[in-house]
């Protein structure tokens, strides 16, 4: 009887000890791994930016720029996640065919919207200022450009996460303005105006991107 009780009493203690060891290991992992991952995320953004700015530095046509931008988009952005986010609550009511078409149109739309917006950035150097974890999945890499003038520099935040093969960008935040949020908000308004029909947005995106139905 006594033996049994002591066994019962002892077991929780060992569980506590084991979990404490686990906690220590976890804490050590946090301390050691976090800076490494932060550096990794920072390096990823630095390399991506260098690649884009270098490509934009040579005088190119708008079409060339669109090509470069599309290439960067497909290799460094987690487009599936972004597409889903920007469709918001309408993702669930969209049919499989609509989702598929939306993804394709959304990518074309991004190229159209942003490929040439940054044409003045040719030769600009992006300065990565830090990175921190914002939730269990995502890093926010902070950076700035154009700090040479008297104006405050433009702040660019890159929301980065580990996805499959490597790191991928899920949002870009310029001076506090999130690209994903902006697109989600205007898409929601467009669908709402079309009576809650996703097809309404798809039609507008087809028209904008010049895609036949």
């Amino acid at each position: 009887m006594r033996k049994v009780r002591s066994a019962i009493v002892r077991r929780p203690a060992s569980v506590v000890r084991r979990s404490r060891t686990g906690l220590l290991v976890f804490a050590a992992w946090l301390v050691l791994a976090a800076p490494a991952a932060a550096t990794e995320a920072e390096t990823f953004i630095r390399e991506t930016a260098d690649r884009v700015f270098a490509a934009y530095a040579v005088p190119v046509t708008d079409e060339d720029r669109a090509g470069v931008f599309r290439d960067v988009l497909s290799t460094t952005f987690e487009l599936k996640t972004i597409a889903r986010f920007t469709l918001g609550r309408y993702w669930r009511v969209a049919s499989a065919a609509q989702r598929k078409e939306y993804r394709r149109l959304f990518e074309d739309f991004l190229v159209l919207a942003y490929a040439n917006r940054f044409r003045d950035l040719a030769g600009v150097k992006l300065r990565v200022t830090g990175a921190r974890m914002i939730n269990k999945r995502d890093w926010l890499v902070q950076s700035e450009i154009g700090a040479d003038g008297t104006r405050p520099p433009i702040r660019i935040g890159w929301r980065v996460r580990q996805a499959g093969a490597g790191l991928r960008i899920v949002d870009v935040i310029v001076d506090g303005i999130s690209m994903s949020v902006t697109q989600r908000d205007q898409f929601a308004a467009a669908i709402h105006a079309a009576g809650g029909k996703v097809e309404g947005l798809l039609a507008m995106l087809r028209e904008k991107t010049g895609t036949p139905e």
């Binding site: 996640t81 969209a94 935040g157 929301r159 902006t182 908000d185 205007q186 929601a188 709402h192 507008m204």
Partner: protein, 275 residues
């Protein structure tokens, strides 16, 4: 209790506006409580006066196309960039008293000091403010206004408003604009012409600086009105937080791959048909 009172007040104001001012156009009706997702979207847009706002927006666009935009274009093309920068600097320097007041009201002694320093340096060595000398030394500008002060004090933004000629705003920021006007010592100089010229110059300066950006945004919007509304809200939140990425930027949760309903081939897996 205070919150309930504030919400009640806001609702009463909206109801009054809907009934009186915007009578013929009407207001957006809130979705029923039984539809929480539509309700959330409605609240996020924060635009109960949307039908009225859209009418004002169209009027603003027309005024922009025929008056402001051409003027800004000529200004941008005819006046060299360094001169335009001087105009910009001069106008910003004139705002110093209002910035100082609001920094103090927000309890930001640091920024109040910075504002005094910038104003003294730029008004003297910077030739009455046309050269941002303090900025050259790394003491960069940061705008403050009474709308931001109210936000720091905990006042909510109130419904989104599209103001005639003045552009996007909300109830709080519209009150802020009026307060800024009346708290500005330059308002009481007694030179009416100075006030008008300053106002005109400011509008042209801002429009010219954002010329390409606005063109791009309009070209690439499926709903220009909604895009402007979203940009305004995000921009104000950033200004209120003083661009502090020390405070987390309001990033929404972006669903990850594991929450996805689809696998690689885009096949439906475990989703009940909803539409």
């Amino acid at each position: 209790m205070r919150r309930a009172l504030r919400n009640g007040l806001a609702r009463a104001v909206v109801a009054l506006l809907c009934a009186g001012v915007v009578g013929p156009v009407g207001c957006a009706t809130a979705p029923p409580a039984g539809d929480p997702e539509s309700r959330e979207a409605f609240e996020r847009a924060n635009d109960p006066l949307e039908p009225f706002n859209r009418v004002v927006f169209v009027a603003n666009i027309v005024a922009d196309r025929f008056v402001l935009k051409p003027v800004a274009y000529v200004y941008k093309e005819a006046v060299p960039a360094p001169i335009r920068d001087m105009v910009s600097n001069f106008l910003h320097n004139l705002r110093s008293p209002v910035i100082l007041l609001n920094a103090l009201l927000q309890g930001d002694i640091d920024h109040a000091g910075t504002t005094v320093l910038r104003f003294s340096v730029n008004s003297t060595l910077g030739f009455a403010g046309i050269v941002d000398l303090a900025g050259e030394f790394g003491i960069v500008r940061r705008d403050e206004d009474f709308g931001q002060t109210l936000a720091v004090w905990g006042v909510g933004e109130g419904p989104y408003l599209m103001l005639p000629l003045l552009g996007p705003s909300n109830a709080r920021d519209a009150v802020g604009r009026a307060a800024d006007y009346f708290s500005d010592p330059l308002t009481y100089l007694g030179y009416e012409k100075f006030g008008y010229s300053r106002f005109g110059a400011k509008i042209i300066d801002v429009r010219a600086r954002n010329y390409d950006l606005l063109n791009d945004v309009e070209r690439t919007s499926v709903d220009f009105y909604a895009t402007i509304r979203s940009l305004y809200g995000q921009n104000r939140r950033d200004a209120i937080a003083n661009g502090a990425e020390a405070g987390l930027p309001p990033l929404p949760d972006i669903p990850g791959e594991e929450d996805d309903f689809e696998d690689e081939e885009g096949q439906e897996r475990d989703r009940p048909p909803t539409g």
